[in-house]
Symmetry: D3
Amino acid sequence: MQTSKHGLVVSAHSADFVWRAGGAIALYAQRGWTMTVVCLSFGERGESAKLWRQPGMTLERVKQDRRAEAERAAEVLGAQIRFLDLGDYPLRVSDEALFQLADIYRELRPAFVLTHSQRDPYNFDHPLATHVAQEARIIAQAHGPAPGEPVLGAPPVFLFEPHQPEQCEWKPQVLLDITEVWDKKRQAFELMAAQEHLWEYYTRVALQRGVQASRNSDAKIRYAEAYQRVFPQVTGELA
Amino acid sequence: MQTSKHGLVVSAHSADFVWRAGGAIALYAQRGWTMTVVCLSFGERGESAKLWRQPGMTLERVKQDRRAEAERAAEVLGAQIRFLDLGDYPLRVSDEALFQLADIYRELRPAFVLTHSQRDPYNFDHPLATHVAQEARIIAQAHGPAPGEPVLGAPPVFLFEPHQPEQCEWKPQVLLDITEVWDKKRQAFELMAAQEHLWEYYTRVALQRGVQASRNSDAKIRYAEAYQRVFPQVTGELA
Amino acid sequence: MQTSKHGLVVSAHSADFVWRAGGAIALYAQRGWTMTVVCLSFGERGESAKLWRQPGMTLERVKQDRRAEAERAAEVLGAQIRFLDLGDYPLRVSDEALFQLADIYRELRPAFVLTHSQRDPYNFDHPLATHVAQEARIIAQAHGPAPGEPVLGAPPVFLFEPHQPEQCEWKPQVLLDITEVWDKKRQAFELMAAQEHLWEYYTRVALQRGVQASRNSDAKIRYAEAYQRVFPQVTGELA
Amino acid sequence: MQTSKHGLVVSAHSADFVWRAGGAIALYAQRGWTMTVVCLSFGERGESAKLWRQPGMTLERVKQDRRAEAERAAEVLGAQIRFLDLGDYPLRVSDEALFQLADIYRELRPAFVLTHSQRDPYNFDHPLATHVAQEARIIAQAHGPAPGEPVLGAPPVFLFEPHQPEQCEWKPQVLLDITEVWDKKRQAFELMAAQEHLWEYYTRVALQRGVQASRNSDAKIRYAEAYQRVFPQVTGELA
Amino acid sequence: MQTSKHGLVVSAHSADFVWRAGGAIALYAQRGWTMTVVCLSFGERGESAKLWRQPGMTLERVKQDRRAEAERAAEVLGAQIRFLDLGDYPLRVSDEALFQLADIYRELRPAFVLTHSQRDPYNFDHPLATHVAQEARIIAQAHGPAPGEPVLGAPPVFLFEPHQPEQCEWKPQVLLDITEVWDKKRQAFELMAAQEHLWEYYTRVALQRGVQASRNSDAKIRYAEAYQRVFPQVTGELA
Amino acid sequence: MQTSKHGLVVSAHSADFVWRAGGAIALYAQRGWTMTVVCLSFGERGESAKLWRQPGMTLERVKQDRRAEAERAAEVLGAQIRFLDLGDYPLRVSDEALFQLADIYRELRPAFVLTHSQRDPYNFDHPLATHVAQEARIIAQAHGPAPGEPVLGAPPVFLFEPHQPEQCEWKPQVLLDITEVWDKKRQAFELMAAQEHLWEYYTRVALQRGVQASRNSDAKIRYAEAYQRVFPQVTGELA
């Protein structure tokens, strides 16, 4: 139903896209799509514990290191990456930044959008990121904000898996088979030196979702990523 | 991911499949699939008000009339139809009937299943029908009930739209474009002489879901049917 | 919108109607309505602890005592009372008993129905009672079960307050001012000798709901009863 | 329980009140009430697609056109209308605007309030509008913000039907019979030239809610409007 | 599992901690803990109706009176108390105030936190207070905001009982026996001269929760306080 | 608050207790408690795929094999085990079996109970097992079913983790540290020859819950089991 070959990923911090959507990104990049990751912050204050333990560390150096890591991960996955540098813990999004994100929607006209869960009691930047990603999408659908420019259609939005899914009122509604690009996702993990403790955690997540994908189909799937939908699926197929 | 070209519809009463799934049935029949409707009852006591107003009406005659109507509707839609004649208002399902339904699953090996919503405060036969449809599916997946026979895989189950959707804790998660078979669905409506008051109601339902399908996509869709999923969708595609 | 002046209360055990709906019963009785309480059981096994502590007590004697208590309470409240004697802990309802209840619906044609909450992890007889009360209502609305007899309309169903409301997924949607009949409700409490520990508990419930009724209106209400609705309210008034 | 004959409608954009509450407004206006609509914005950027397609269109002209349309619609329905001109897509509400709305509450002392659903993934201005409408009501109930002035009581708040109800976690709890004023509501629709595609959509909504209102009562109702309650209903009547 | 003997209570207005957490505060103070109450506002505009009825009252005097009352109540309960004076009806929290609260977390390193429910349609300051209390906790867990300082661990957060619990989507998950400190809680109530109407209301709440605590255990508990958990309980004990 | 040193586990099929509660069982057994597992069925038809693939297999032999496996696993974990042999796929529970289970409650007077989740769309025996486990507990609390015998108190009920937790509306509310008995749990896994595919799956579950337990506390926990509570926790401790 769509012809755009762009996908958009809105990530609160600079590594979220790796753990949560690295498979989808690599899969679509491999199919020839342009996948663009927008990082609202670098996770410089809240998700860089290991860097802060180095003597003499400064906010600027953390941000540089995190940016470099994220760029390498995006490269491995085959994605474009942009940084809005809005700060974290807490993330705060001005209307100016919101419009900037709406401009990106109009520019890319993505066929689908990946972003965070609606709730996360462990991390308030995540729900804010999804709120902003969805509000920018709505603004890009309107005629008034940029008169004359073509407006955005209605790309589906998929919410990626949070760290503790049941605590976030998040439910897997889509299980995406990422087996063929698993190696790239794992390789991207290993570039995230600041969060080494997550490598095995998210490898196990991919394996569990793989078992579940097999149980919910007649296929044999080893690695999967799970998503929740915001909007109903429009389709011509039930099988 | 599947090769079977069978679809199964489990309908509490003999007309439910027309209003709620007539589009999906006609669509897949037209694509060459074998669509099988199993009616657990004729709706003879609870959904045949017009027939009961005829003088001298008997339960047997109501059942015959309802069966004939349903057979003609199935024919228009291009479906096979079977009647388990379990009674209605209240529907009661013995384990024997449950195993009979499990046998049908094993026989047809459907690639998808359509049945009722999980709740319906207006009609307790509907939630029972979906319970039975799902329990039979689970039994058909097990090795013990019919040793040696191949077991069922994991066909997705779609719950069709109840009469008052918000009161049934039912949410549209899939909007199926039925525009190309709308004429057949409407033609099947008009065979349901006993429930003429529903023709316009369900025509409006199809139009509203069509508008919504358009709003949730970049397509122009005139008629749609809405479904809720029981299980997560396993897929290789996000767009 | 209705002309019947009958109200029906379906109570799992013989005292439930006192604590949970005594105010509504007395209020409507005082307005000249016929209020009929149907007790599915006497609560003889599960809600008669004090009686069972008497030496030599038998099931029959408990039932007699509970019946007598309930009759006196109904009299104080101004209600008719009937006992189906289906047993408790666990309550079990045959289809025969279900049809008997449907007959009562057709006989009384109540303008509203009061019964238990949909869930209660402390008491499984309560959810079963509400299930049966609602299924019988649906059967009485159908033409087939009693051909020729006029069918029931659509009386609203109100679910009364369970003992630990938040644990039962029950929410007060209607706060009924029972101040003018409070004395009768309290008098009925005091006839329930077997459950003296509940007198003060349910007096406090009535006071709390009274404060809340005042907070949700511009009136000064001292005692109230709370109900949840099963169906949407059909009305011509918003104020 | 109340004596004020004022009703307040808080509408995010200048046409929302027509589709969603036009029946209630006309009904109460016809009964001699003063119905006041407060439009937080004109919907100038997000809900005026047709106007923006005209060559040389400017924001000011869109706002003028939308204001004129809304004034005519209010006149047809019999309502007063005020515009706060806070902008849309995104709507943003300063504390100053919030206090202005609280002043309106104190001025009108409405007996009931109509506003948007709590959630709407398609339109973030709607949930913000209901948040503001509810927060202003709470402020108007407090003694400190305007010492010496009488405070507001506790007018019930009704949430009107969103465009895709099930996606908004909105449930019809009140079905208001608007048959006698349907012609006015439809006439107001037809003044909304910029949104012609909604005329038939919301006519069908009114018909569906009418059928449902009939099914939930013993009355024959042709057109209805549906609302969800925020607060419990305080009442002396169950039938 | 913890060694800190500090507990933190975040209260939107200066009296909330008394009604809602007075028992927990007194209990832990009696056990030798340092309990610190942080009042975000004095409730000077929204919860001081009685004071505002005095002639010539000013905002400053209301704040002084409320502060004095709260200090006396804290003393009776054995708690420390701090006031952030952020204003009420509406409460508004700047990032500066948020960081101030995060500093308090780092300073006290509380072993548990008590604050408001997530929703409250009657009072929008309460959900904001819990949001801020939780966001400050998250910031205090991060390494970047205060490099070099030890970060906070993961103290559990308990949400105290709102005024109308079922309307706030709040569910009692923890019933804390406060019988031994009830006298102090009641004594603190009686210092709240501005809200005398709440004394009996919250005494009844404590009695009802006491009955429920007894019903959910084998103990005899006269007074209890109820809390909802935000996070799963980590434990080595099931009994 | 309790003195009994008995724990009861109600397992639908003969292996469920191993995957889902093996840690809790071993932990309490090691503390000197008597842990009793009641298997309602052997899982002979639905959870013994590997056995059914052996030529000439019969229902009786499957049951024997499954019984032997379960007995060995119970022994490794340090538990008593009983089999009610009620059949599976579908499990059906007569009132006689229900009373038998109530007798076991009265006999053991467990201080806590472990059983299945309330919902499971993949396995209808599980929700039935938890229903029965809870109904038997309620019957054992009543005085009438076994006059003269002491009644059961109110042991808390913990629901163990289903195979696909988010699909079962199940939420981890208790994370139990099982690190010290992990070896026994794993050893019990390896006795379940018929379900070898689950060994790694449930090892990963234990690791993920361990990470989450660490994140929700200040402890370092390697393996954990997650439970949902049915009833509120009654306690004197918040930390």
